[in-house]
Symmetry: C2
Subunit: 340 residues, 2 copies
DNA sequence: CCTGGAAACGTAACCGATAACGATTGCAGT
DNA sequence: ACTGCAATCGTTATCGGTTACGTTTCCAGG
């Protein structure tokens, strides 16, 4: 009679198989020095007890665990994309993935969450970590790859080419004839937000259009932060004919505000976002945006981390992935194409 | 000179503070029996070394870890909703969350993944686990809560009221005058799929309409599985005037097929889904569907698991959450309301 | 028969932290 | 001064698994 609720530890297997735990370990790990007969006995006992090695105990003793960690501040829809990409990269690689989330920081501004999360995991559990949009510089004795790092970070990272993407987006609006283009920025400490604003400025400057600071709203990537900023921009006596938002989430809020103010898109206002989240394809009109595949970011980050852990990484430690402009219905020439 | 790369273990702290590891442990855990002066010394040493307790070592020794696990077969957009809900429920509860994903099973049919995942975590790492749409019966010595369990499962679980939701959906179509209503089913082993089909049958039977088996397509919740089934249904000489799909993902594919065949929705065909995923609100026309808040499911599952772990759970161990019909543009009376 | 060496296997230390337990100290009560 | 109790802190077993090391077994070669 087998206790179904029993923990089924390695010593249980050893007892049933009539050998020592050392031998069981050798069988489990496929090490040399066990006779075929003993292996069979041990395997049988493992089968019989439904034994599974404890991740915890193994990781405590071993230096390598073949488990990679991923820490994130919150779960958005793009987080799922990142996870899908990471899982794809780790598919049949022998590496498992653990995502760690601390309940204490939910919804609250909690400086330093990355460090705490990583410290918890990186002790012995994981061989390395992916950090999704850290708020600060991250360090650990095990390898770390940041997705969308903070400005000036020198740690290994994967980022979309935010500068080029934003430049292209604004150039698109310029080519349509827009001259007064508003901008809603993201969290300024993040490199992505900074680059996107930089692209906005660069495109305007290249077109010999002075940057008007009053046309820039300081959002924080949180969609809700865009609503009041969009209202302020669109209620001006001289409203912009187009608004470029640093994220699709914020751009969708701009669309809402436009509808609320009775402005037609793209007739009265063109809107361009950044990210290309699934929802952007499904609005009416569809949102013109810059595609950065979060799936791809997750994929590359996991691939890079895996290589760093196994010490096989060759290429640069700061990967920049290309972006592409996705033109949909939300952008069109301004109603009165007043050219200088 | 402090080694930044050093592990910074508890014995390091003990050495620096000039006390034993036991005392450090007492300080860390706020236990009784340490003088104020010693506490200050230890805290100082912790600060100095940047010490963080190892999750692994702690969980190995302790019976309680205050970490809950969540295992899922894959990451979909709804998974993010579940995670958000679970995080909300665990907010400031002292419980952290670990999501474990095995790379080997990505994209492959891997029977028994829940058991392996749970065994890895449940050894000592977590105090309990949430299992998202398990494919089989799950067991563990630590508490388990299943979201959307298999049929006949007696384990603690949280489910949407699929039967009532599906019944309401079909009744909605019936009240619009539809009499030939197609159905695209989900993975039949899951309780949710079974209940939704049951609701479809019940509603028809209540309306004295015989169930036509040829109007039922056997999907598996995977959106792609719906495409050929929808084509088969709509290319019939006597096509249904409405199709009820067991999931929004599949319903959206039905919309695609309808467009492909030149059928207008809702003019030529009404479509109703189930789940109310974000995309459903943004299609043109909007998808009429049954709302089951995955966020709510995640929230309730985490709340229940937390209570089970702390032994405070009072209510029933099988929670059923209400659903609600969300009527959008994809459902309308059939073009020719031919009544029997 | 004796020896060498490899194969096979057990013993025990160890990973980092916790907690039961014992030992020491301080202080109040008598 | 002696007893008793509480406060404080160190020692050590323990969690489950890994591995260095030691021991035993066995067989080939001399």
């Amino acid at each position: 009679m087998i206790e179904v609720n029993a923990p089924a530890t390695m010593s249980d297997v050893a007892r049933v198989a009539g050998v020592s735990t050392a031998t069981v370990s050798r069988v489990v790990n496929g090490h040399y020095g066990v006779s075929a007969r003993t292996i069979a006995q041990v395997r049988s006992a493992i089968e019989q007890l439904g034994y599974e090695s404890s991740l915890v105990a193994t990781s405590l003793r071993r230096s390598r665990t073949n488990v990679l960690g991923l820490v994130t501040h919150s779960f958005q829809s793009y987080t799922a994309e990142v996870l899908k990409g990471a899982m794809k990269a780790l598919s049949r690689s022998g590496f498992d993935l653990i995502i760690y989330a601390n309940s204490d920081l939910y919804g609250s501004y909690s400086e330093g969450w990355e460090k705490r999360h990583i410290a918890r995991l990186s002790g012995t559990l994981t061989d390395g970590c992916i950090v999704v949009t850290p708020w600060g510089e991250v360090q650990s004795r095990t390898p770390i790859v940041a997705i969308d790092p903070v400005r000036g970070s020198t740690a290994p990272s994967v980022t979309a080419d935010n500068l080029a993407g934003a430049t292209t987006a604004v150039e698109h609006l310029l080519s349509l004839g827009h001259r007064r283009i508003g901008f809603i920025a993201g969290r300024s400490s993040l490199a992505s937000a900074w680059s996107r604003e930089e692209g906005y400025r660069a495109a305007l400057t290249s077109a010999d259009i002075p940057v008007d600071p009053t046309l820039i709203g300081e959002g924080d990537f949180n969609p809700e932060s865009a609503t009041p900023l969009a209202r302020a921009l669109l209620r001006r006596t001289d409203p912009p004919t187009a608004i470029f938002a640093a994220s699709d989430g914020m751009a969708l809020k701009v669309l809402e505000v436009a509808a609320e103010l009775g402005l037609s898109v793209p007739g009265d206002l063109s809107v361009v976002g950044f990210d290309n989240i699934p929802e952007s394809a499904l609005t009416e009109p569809g949102l013109t945006t810059v595609d950065q595949s979060m799936y791809q970011l997750g994929y590359e980050a996991a691939r890079m981390l895996k290589s760093l852990v196994t010490d096989e990484w060759e290429g640069p430690r700061q990967v920049v992935l290309p972006t592409s402009l996705v033109v949909r219905g939300s952008s069109a020439p301004p109603r009165s194409t007043a050219r200088g």
